[in-house]
């Protein structure tokens, strides 16, 4: 996908988000809706400008970034730029996080956390089975000691309650 396409999708989403807010802003009292309306207009304007800028940048292949910015950005990603992005892996890992988060309340934090670590490590082939078990149990225990016993945080216990 070209940069212009990617940015255009982002601009459409930002504008849609702004319009949803506008729908609510018009119903607000004048003082409460004043600044939000200005910001909504700015979001829409900047979204359009962003698409135009990306289009021209791509078309002319002109890099207008300052040298320092460019170098720091390149170096931030320097080690991983050579390897292609595995979108499937990123999506599935994202999905695992979503399931982990949404299962936390009904099932319980101390069941889903080790389960998440085991499934993620196995899927990512991070380490051996032995290490997987040690890390998942060890880390869950660490969180329990620190947050439940030490900080007295009411962590969702789910079915363990």
């Amino acid at each position: 996908m070209t940069n212009t396409k990617k940015v255009s999708i982002a601009a459409v989403l930002a504008t849609a988000f702004a319009l949803i807010f506008l729908n609510k802003a018009v119903k607000l009292p004048k003082t409460a809706g004043y600044l939000p309306k200005i910001l909504i207009a700015l979001v829409i304007l900047l979204s359009i400008l962003m698409v135009i800028e990306t289009h021209f940048k791509e078309k002319n292949n002109v890099k207008q970034k300052r040298r320092i910015d460019e170098r720091s950005e390149e170096d931030e990603d320097s080690d991983d730029d050579k390897t292609p992005i595995d979108y499937k892996k990123a999506f599935l890992f994202g999905l695992m996080i979503a399931i982990y988060i949404f299962a936390m309340k009904p099932v319980g934090y101390f069941i889903v956390t080790p389960a998440f670590v085991i499934i993620a490590y196995r899927y990512l082939k991070s380490t051996s089975w032995k290490n997987t078990i040690i890390i998942s149990v060890g880390f869950t225990l660490f969180v329990y000691l620190l947050f439940v016993l030490f900080l007295k945080l009411p962590v969702p216990m789910g079915i363990l309650q």
């Binding site: 003082t31 004043y34 939000p36 720091s72 890992f93 982990y100 936390m104 309340k105 490590y121 890390i135």
Partner: protein, 502 residues
């Protein structure tokens, strides 16, 4: 008054709990910085929940010490595995890695440690001297000036962020718009809550920043990990530089420290900019430029002094004006707000005990960093070997528990994840996330000060131009936007052509 507060802060920091927090924070920072998968910003975000139960001064001191420690820690992997542990150590790779290849890894780390110490102490002194003066000046600020300060903060961080200024400002504006969610501070009307009671108090920005800074990074670690075993250079030689070497690097470290402090003060620019700025200036001043990139100790010192000097510099606007100088200080601001302390001009007076303790803690963290660095750098070598695939799920676990701990709310965890997904896609189109966080922080201040100013002026916007301080600040904001436009680039290229012809 200022002197009394300084003494108060100094005695507070000598308390055993504070000293312990500084040592633990610095040690964590050193190890987190050494791991290429974890940045200083993420480290602070992940440590934030642990500070909830602590005294405000102790907790915040720990976060600042972590920030300082991570700045040095980043150089360990930069030197040993050619991968900067944090973006702020990117320029350290240039000469640090060639030194390691020549069997001088210990020397490179020692130079980095000494330069970090000088940069850190320099910035702590700058913070200790500039912050009270600027704080006193800022105390005079009314809503008109505060509005201009908020506008300046958002435009500078937006326009100076890496990449496109339009994307930076759009990110900041989105942050401001999200800050409008919740009760209107003047009328008390609920805005954009969509009937959800959890949103009545607004979007908790610590939750947002944990998601924005950590989730995208965790996914990135997974999607791009090549599985190649990292080759780590061995540290066999002596670390501390000789007297001659110290004399050689000293002028550069002072120059880089100055650069670091000023880069830190400007919102939007942090260690990643400062290290290159310091490195390039060192190269420009050098008699023999050809040795740079081949293992020159001055190159390592220049980059490392600059990135540590950023810490104190970035805290100056954070403490005095309530505008974070970098994304890391934005989280530290979040930490203050969790303890009910509103960053801004009153921080130097109402919360002087916390603020001055924090300033002294930063000074002491330099000593802790130096000693820990001297004795534990060799141990930190092991963490550079930890695979990204092992780190990623652990980051997620810490994000989840951290965002839950703020308000004991599962809704916050969902919100954190939503911001994480947003941050991931923003990353994909090279839109910086820091302006969004700063927008979220400054939104309420912008809203309240705008209403109050307009009430005072009877609805006239001219009030912002009639006030000299606000007029100057708004003019700087306008300039920061204009300097990023193609028109400014065009004028600049015309002018430079003319000067070459002349």
């Amino acid at each position: 008054m200022i002197l009394d507060n300084m003494i108060l802060g100094f005695t507070n920091v000598l308390h055993i709990t504070s000293l312990l927090a500084i040592v633990v924070g610095t040690a964590l920072g050193l190890f987190i910085g050494a791991m290429p998968g974890l940045s200083a910003t993420m480290g602070i975000a992940l440590l934030l929940p642990l500070t909830y139960g602590m005294e405000p001064a102790v907790g915040i001191s720990m976060l600042c010490a972590l920030y300082m420690g991570a700045m040095y820690g980043g150089s360990i992997s930069a030197i040993l595995i050619k991968t900067p542990g944090t973006p702020a150590a990117a320029a350290t790779v240039m000469d640090g890695y060639p030194m390691a290849q020549q069997g001088k890894a210990g020397k490179a780390l020692g130079i980095s440690l000494v330069a970090s110490l000088i940069g850190g102490v320099f910035s702590s002194i700058a913070l200790l001297t500039i912050a009270p003066v600027l704080g006193n000046f800022a105390l005079e600020f009314g809503p008109v000036e505060l509005f201009a300060v908020a506008v300046l903060g958002i435009t500078i961080i937006g326009s100076l962020s890496a990449g496109s200024a339009i994307k930076g400002i759009l990110s900041g504006t989105l942050g401001l718009l999200l800050a409008m969610v919740g009760m209107d501070p003047i009328t008390g009307t609920p805005r954009f809550t969509f009937g959800n009671i959890n949103l009545f108090s607004g979007v908790p920005y610590t939750v947002a920043l944990i998601g924005l800074f950590s989730i995208p990074q965790a996914i990135k670690l997974v999607e791009k990990d090549s599985g190649v075993t990292k080759i780590v250079s061995h540290v066999k030689d002596r670390m501390l530089p000789t007297k001659e070497e110290f004399k050689k690097i000293f002028p550069t470290t002072i120059r880089s420290s100055l650069i670091g402090v000023f880069t830190g003060i400007i919102p939007g620019t942090g260690g990643d900019t400062a290290c290159w700025f310091g490195y390039n200036e060192a190269k420009r001043f050098a008699k023999d430029k050809s040795t740079f990139g081949k293992g020159n100790i001055i190159g390592v010192a220049a980059s490392e002094a600059a990135n540590n000097a950023v810490v104190g510099g970035a805290l100056i606007p954070t403490i005095t004006l309530g505008i974070p100088g970098s994304s890391a200080t934005a989280i530290i601001m979040g930490g203050l707000m969790i303890h009910g302390i509103m960053p801004g001009p009153t921080l130097m007076t109402e919360y002087a005990d916390v603020t001055y303790t924090l300033i002294w803690a930063l000074m002491f963290s330099n000593i802790a960093m130096f000693l820990l660095g001297l004795f534990f750098t060799k141990a930190a070598v092991f963490v550079t070997k930890i695979s990204n695939k092992i780190l990623a799920p652990i980051i997620i676990i810490l994000c989840v528990i951290g965002s839950f701990a703020i308000n004991n709310s599962v809704f916050d965890v969902y919100l954190m994840f939503a911001f994480g997904v947003l941050g991931y896609f923003m990353d994909k189109i090279n839109m910086p996330t820091s302006p969004l966080v700063v927008g979220l922080i400054l939104g309420k201040m912008l809203d309240t000060s705008l209403h109050q100013s307009l009430l005072m002026s009877g609805g006239s916007w001219l009030v912002f131009l009639q006030n000299p301080i606000s007029a100057v600040l708004l003019a700087i904001s306008l300039f920061s936007i204009l300097q990023a436009t193609p028109l400014f680039g065009f004028i600049k290229s015309k002018l430079s052509k003319k000067s070459i012809q002349a």
